[in-house]
Symmetry: C2
């Protein structure tokens, strides 16, 4: 059954216009045929096409259920600012893999910097990348893509997760595997810039309640580490 992302859905009938209506036309769907609408917030709606004309498509809502493509755990990926191609790569892949949100932030050794003006133009583009990846991978939710401007604010937010983890290449004791042996439903995954975190950043993170964690004996690039951590957490949670 064809599946389309829309905004929030309410009532018993929805009028679809723009790209979605065009797509329905391209598929040569006929009144009476069924399709699925996803609100991008975790709910799928099975619908019946009632009418299709120049103004758009009208559909009747038949039933709704939680989207099948959503993980049962919420993992938010916090990635230090990096060059745009690396950030965009992580946004696309983290969405496919099942991240709940993707948050970019400045770190002491970041080479790439995004001021408020740059973020104003970048964030809508990043959100579109997440939307396209969510649709293609069959997710039920488009992860929010955000930026947080200060280390203290990042730590405060991340510390609220059941499993708040900061990945540090000099951490030798706490394997990720040892840290996931607790009940958790939400996790925060912080990874650093190409030059790594400073000791002061790690100290502040631990002080704020985060656990310093290792991703193993190999040094992962700044765009590899967040995806490896996300994958391992979803696997540990029984999502693979």
């Amino acid at each position: 059954m064809p599946r389309f992302f829309t905004g929030p859905v309410s009532g018993s009938r929805v009028c679809l216009s723009g790209e979605t209506a065009s797509h329905i036309r391209v598929l040569r769907m006929r009144p009476g045929e069924e399709l699925t609408l996803c609100d991008g917030q975790g709910t799928d709606y099975v619908c019946r096409l009632e009418a299709l004309d120049g103004a758009g498509a009208q559909v009747e809502l038949l039933s709704s259920q939680p989207s099948a493509g959503e993980p049962a755990v919420d993992v938010t990926v916090y990635m230090a600012f990096a060059k745009a191609d690396k950030l965009e790569h992580v946004i696309q892949k983290a969405t496919e893999l099942g991240a709940r949100e993707i948050v970019a932030y400045p770190s002491a050794r970041c080479v790439a910097r995004y001021d408020a003006a740059a973020l104003k133009s970048k964030l809508p583009r990043w959100q579109k990348i997440a939307a396209a990846a969510a649709e293609q991978s069959g997710r039920g939710r488009i992860p929010a893509v955000r930026a947080v401007s200060g280390w203290a604010a990042v730590l405060q937010e991340a510390a609220a997760a059941d499993l708040p983890l900061i990945f540090y290449e000099r951490e030798r004791n706490n394997s990720l595997r040892s840290l996931v042996q607790v009940p958790w439903r939400s996790a925060a995954v912080l990874t650093g810039p190409e030059g790594g975190y400073t000791e002061a950043e790690i100290a502040a993170a631990v002080e704020a309640g985060l656990r310093s964690a290792s991703l193993g004996a190999r040094i992962l690039r700044c765009e590899t580490a967040p995806l490896a951590a996300l994958t391992a957490l979803l696997f540990a949670a029984g999502e693979m």
Copy 2:
């Protein structure tokens, strides 16, 4: 201590030339200082610099040990032919993460094809990407990058692993998590092209002894699936 990849190491003294000698010069190393040579086959050698002149650097071997960066399990990644940028991405990332070998192969729905002439020019380039990623990530071994030209040959090779897995987006029963609950030291991870495997390919794989496996409810792109599977296996093996 500076660390350099060389070819095979033997005897009690080694003469280094070319890039490695240049690098030692750039680092302004002095006779008497120590460095590590890695043979790219899993062994690190602690050495002392004896002499450095226009002809190169002479070092004395002091001790050797298995490279710290190598996983205790061998995971070979079999990736269906894809566009060059996607293959190169997977070669780089799979090396960082800890793959033992990376094997490209043709699959029924592959759009990208590489004939013998194309492979002759591509394989050296792909091997260089693996070498650079191995050095940067601190590995002790440069994964071999190979191509295998037929499905039967791929299956025969893969079936010899303790854990031979083929990832199929229509598999609903066998989660990766359920399949790793056996003792294993070697694994083969097969992932398909953008259009997915044909039913005939899956049937032949199962017939050859491979287990059809799921990577979860989300549809991963052809360049995401091999890295997700590799990461999850290494995590399951206690490598993270």
